[in-house]
Every structure is written in structure tokens, then in C-alpha cells.
Assembly symmetry: C2
Homo-oligomer: 330 residues x 2
């Protein structure tokens, strides 16, 4: 019998994941918040707002607007809403709605205010054990999946057999997926990379060059290692694609929204005016507010995170903050 996957979310990453899954023998219950987007997809086989060039195979993909129904028949529930909305969406469900299912998060962010990982929230609210939780780690621009450019994903889960099974389910001609056991570490890294991308953007906005960016990213890797060693210690290869690869694809992309946001801050925009101009909030803006208190609590030396936090939340001038930061890098 075919596996049924409920994909929750209608953005570009959700659309890319739906496309990937539909390359294999699965049924996809695709939940979209917007009824008109759902209808557009049913009528025309394209998402009107994200990756609209991607043809969606409606023989396998069933767009839906009722969350409970989308999930009811699913073996696997794949969360792909922006982190800012995940709690709102999950709280629509009764607490037994995910029993017996595998929950996969493709969200690169944490639950705001609670400052916990998405999988921790799912585990707590729905009484799901670590055994049934997976996370998808990059490096992966949705746009390149849309173009069927060869990409790689890492499926992270304590139960490596389940991680491997999902890796097979999502692999295809242009997507290779592997599995690792480090769930929390990969999730935190995905969150932190957006903070680092903002830092790279700020540096760019302040007119620092490529030499400085390379040093910034190398130091960021050391900062990420210190954080993970303090918060969720285990033997891990930080140079694996799930960590370093993900950081690179974000920090070196001209299209990264976090980098663009940082660049505007570096050029002198206020946080509010940068957000208004971009018509959106970069994930890293929330991410640093989640990571910062953890850094304080665990007393981890994280000068880049500190600088981004000070600039975005303490309104310290990027020029001044980077004068301090530059002396802390090597």
C-alpha cells in the first residue's frame, strides 16, 4: 500500500517538497491555508504564489483545506509552514491527532517565546516520542529543486531506520537524501545559519569584502560547534552537508532573505523599515531572539550571535558593533 504524506504549508519550500515526494509512489494530502490557492492548484496544477513554474502532478497530490482531514489518513505528517505560524497551525489540532504517525519538520526555526525546537514542541503537545520525529536539513534552495538541479538533503532522526526510510521516500533523479542520527543538532544549526546569514548581510552592507566574509563564516562554524557542544552534545561531523553545507548555501546566496535583510541593516535601514521594504520578516530575526537567551544560559562564547542580537534588538549601530566583532574574530 502506498504511503500517505500530509504536507502542511503552501510556501516555496512546501511546494518544492510536494514536487519531490510526487516523483515517487506516494499519496500527498497537501494542506494549504489559502482556499483560493488550493482551488488554483486543483484547477491549474500550479501554485499561484510560489514556484509557480512547477507543474504539480494531481494524480498523486490532493490539495486540501481541512487540516484534520489532511492528517487523518496520513502515515507521515510533514511540517513546512514558516516558523512564525507553526504553533498557530499545530494548535488547531487535538492533542491526539498525530498519534501513530511520523512527524517530519522542514521548518528552519524555533517556537517563539517558548524558545524550543519544533520537534520539542510537537513531542510535548502531541505526546510523540523521539522515535517518531524527523527533521529535514539542507542545503537546499527550493528554487533549484523547482529547476530539477541536483540537490542533497539530510534526514535527521534518532531512529535511523525511520530516517533512512523517509530519505528513500524523498529521493529521486535530482535529489539525493541521506540519514543521520542528530536531530536536535541539525535543527539548531538550521536556525543559527539564518542568524549568520544576517551577519554576512550586515558585513556586506557595511562594505566589508569577501576576505572578511570567509573569516566570518569560518568563525561561525566554531561558534555553532561551541553552542551544540553545550546544548546538545554528541559526536557529530560539523563538516557534513547538513551543517556546513546548509550554512554555505544560505550565507553565500545572493537571494537569501536573511542576507538581504542584514545588508539593509548594514546600510543603515532600521529593523522596521527593512522589514517594511522587504514586506516580510527574515527568519533569522526571530531566530536570534531564540538563540540569544540559550547562549546566555549556557554561557557560550558566540560573538557573531551577540553582535546580531545587539544590532537588531538593542539598536546598537552596526558600525560600532562590527568594530567590536572584528577584533574577536581570527
Amino acid at each position: 500500500m502506498e504511503t500517505t504524506v500530509a504536507v502542511i504549508g503552501g510556501g516555496s519550500w512546501a511546494t518544492a517538497l510536494v514536487k519531490l515526494l510526487s516523483e515517487n509512489e506516494v499519496v500527498i494530502n497537501w494542506w494549504l491555508r489559502s482556499k483560493s490557492d488550493m482551488n488554483h492548484i486543483i484547477n491549474y496544477g500550479h501554485n499561484p504564489r510560489y514556484l509557480s513554474g512547477v507543474h504539480l502532478n494531481l494524480k498523486k497530490i490532493k490539495p486540501q483545506h481541512e487540516l484534520k482531514e489532511a492528517i487523518a489518513t496520513a502515515d507521515i505528517v510533514l511540517l513546512a509552514v514558516p516558523s512564525a505560524f507553526v504553533r498557530e497551525v499545530l494548535d488547531l489540532l487535538p492533542t491526539d491527532a498525530l498519534q501513530g504517525k511520523i512527524v517530519v519538520t522542514a521548518i528552519k526555526g524555533m517556537i517563539r517565546n517558548e524558545n524550543i525546537l519544533v520537534t520539542d514542541y510537537v513531542s510535548k503537545r502531541f505526546s510523540i516520542t523521539a522515535d517518531d520525529l524527523l527533521a529535514i536539513a539542507g542545503p537546499c534552495h527550493a528554487e533549484e529543486v523547482a529547476l530539477e538541479k541536483l540537490s542533497y538533503l539530510t534526514i535527521c532522526g534518532a531512529n535511523i531506520a525511520k530516517a533512512k526510510a523517509f530519505a528513500s521516500l524523498i529521493s529521486c533523479r535530482y535529489l539525493k537524501a541521506t540519514a543521520i542520527e542528530d536531530l536536535a543538532g541539525a535543527e539548531y544549526c538550521a536556525v543559527m545559519k539564518n542568524v549568520i546569514a544576517i551577519a554576512c548581510g550586515i558585513a556586506h552592507g557595511l562594505n566589508y569584502g569577501d576576505n572578511f566574509q570567509a573569516v566570518l563564516v569560518a568563525n561561525a562554524m566554531q561558534e555553532i560547534r561551541r553552542f551544540l557542544d553545550a546544548v546538545t552534545p554528541m559526536e557529530r561531523d560539523l563538516n557534513a552537508s547538513a551543517y556546513l553545507g546548509d550554512l554555505l548555501v544560505t550565507t553565500y546566496s545572493q537571494f537569501s532573505r536573511n542576507r538581504t535583510f542584514g545588508s539593509m541593516i548594514g546600510r543603515g535601514y532600521s529593523v522596521k523599515s527593512a522589514q517594511l521594504e522587504m514586506r516580510m520578516v527574515a527568519e533569522g530575526y526571530y531566530a536570534v531572539a531564540c538563540i540569544y537567551p540559550m547562549m546566555k544560559k549556557h554561557q557560550v562564547k558566540m560573538p557573531i550571535t551577540q553582535a546580531v542580537y545587539n544590532i537588531l534588538y538593542e539598536k546598537i549601530s552596526p558600525i560600532v558593533e562590527f568594530q567590536i566583532l572584528r577584533d574577536l574574530l581570527a
Copy 2:
């Protein structure tokens, strides 16, 4: 008394290093192979061929054409010729010419045919001990030094006090230098990064995207670690700027000659026609010929190096070779 540094070489990296040193209280005996370039510098205070916008302070910089004289009064000899010419230049000197001096290499390459590091060759030919040998590791585009964009260098040497002293000598307002003890590892890494840059170029030429490049670079770091652990094992943090930073500035630069060369190979140029078109030979072309036999000898798993070697020296099609490589990455 002021330190006298002999800088050997007239290219862009040599010019950038001369500029950096001249920010401090040193005397620089600058040896250039070309007599007309030397005269141009003496007359106009600019290198006519490389970083020609850089003003050279002739109160401190003494351009010279006689190698022995340039070296005779020097406390420190800084080698900055292309690796292809280093042996030819060094062999002009009597074997006792470097006695009592500190020799610093800024060369990102190995001695051809002998397949040994520049410091190993210097040590052997001139009977210099490891105590007096240093290497300069990136990440550093010479062009950004010329523009006085903040950059970082790492000075590598077994004698950490001497490495630190040279780090102070070369540090200035826009250059921060630190010291580490790993001489051979940093030198090998600087050589290997050019091979990886060629691989990134080939991928680009074959139309692979940013997702793939991020995976390629992450896998390259793992490949570099395996090589160093086999060839020159010691405790080192590969995410330091000297290793990861140097790799990033090269592989993500649109201006890297190695990347450009690789990109032409990926688009179907033969090695010879790419070299003719570029009017130069990319360092990585020689580097892979040095690294490959060591990889074989030490039996290290290095699929990226293997692929670049097969494409450049065994004339295997880049398309075919990357079809094999892509399945070996994760």
C-alpha cells in the same frame, strides 16, 4: 634596529604583502625577476603589472634585481613567487644563503616532480630547521588587501613565538594576523583548496547549481581532513580561518583563476585550450598532480581529487566523471 624582510616575487600576492609590511617599521628588499618592473617601481612607486593602483612607499621598499643581495641583509626571507618557479629561483642561491634567517612561504603550491611542500624543499636544500620556517595561510584575495578591506591571515609555524612575531610584523589597520602551530597541514590545505576550486568550476561549467556546490565544499572539507589525518596527523580545528576560510574565499570567488579554469573544462574546453585562452596555468592544475600520488600512497578516500585528476590528466569526460562523483557525495 628595524627588521629587514626580503620579499621574493613580483606578482599580485607579493605586491600585497609588500604593501602590508610597509605599513610597519621594516625595511623591505623587494626582489623582482623583471628588471623593467623593478625600474618602473623605483621611478613611479607602482608595480606596472599587478595591483598597479597600489602606491608603494619607497622610503621603506627597496626594489632589487640581484637575488643574493636582496637576501644578504635580510632577517626574514618571504617567498612569494608562483609555485611553478619557486625551485628555479631558490636554486639560484648557494645552499648556505638562508642560514640564520627565518624563511616564510606565501606560496600556495608544492614543488613539482618532487611532490614536496615548499618548506620541506627549503629545509632540505638550505639546511633550515622547522624552527625557522613559517607559512602564511589565507583567506586573502590580494585585490582586497590593495583596497585596504579588512582581511585576516594566519601565520603557521612549529615555533609559535616566531609565528606570533611575524604575525605582529604583518598586522596593520586593515590586516589582522594570528598564529597557529600547524605548518604542514595549513600548507597542504592551501594546495588542496585550488583543486577543490577547479572542481567547483567544473560543476558550474556543467550547470550544477548552488545546492550542489555547497555539498561539494562540505564534502571537500571532509576529504581535506582525511588527507591531513593520514599525511600529517595532529590536533587541529579545520574550521579555523586558515583552512575553511581559505577554502571558502577561493571556491566562492567568481575571480578565482582555478574556478575559471574549471568552468571552462566543464563547458567542454580541453586543458590545453583552456590554458591558452586564459594565458596562464591555474595552480590547481599542478596541485592535483602533486596530491594525487600522495592520496594513492596513503590510500585516502578522496573522490573529488580523484575526479579532478581523471578529468585533467586522464582525459575522462567531466560529464561522466561527475556522474560518478555525485553518487559518492552526501
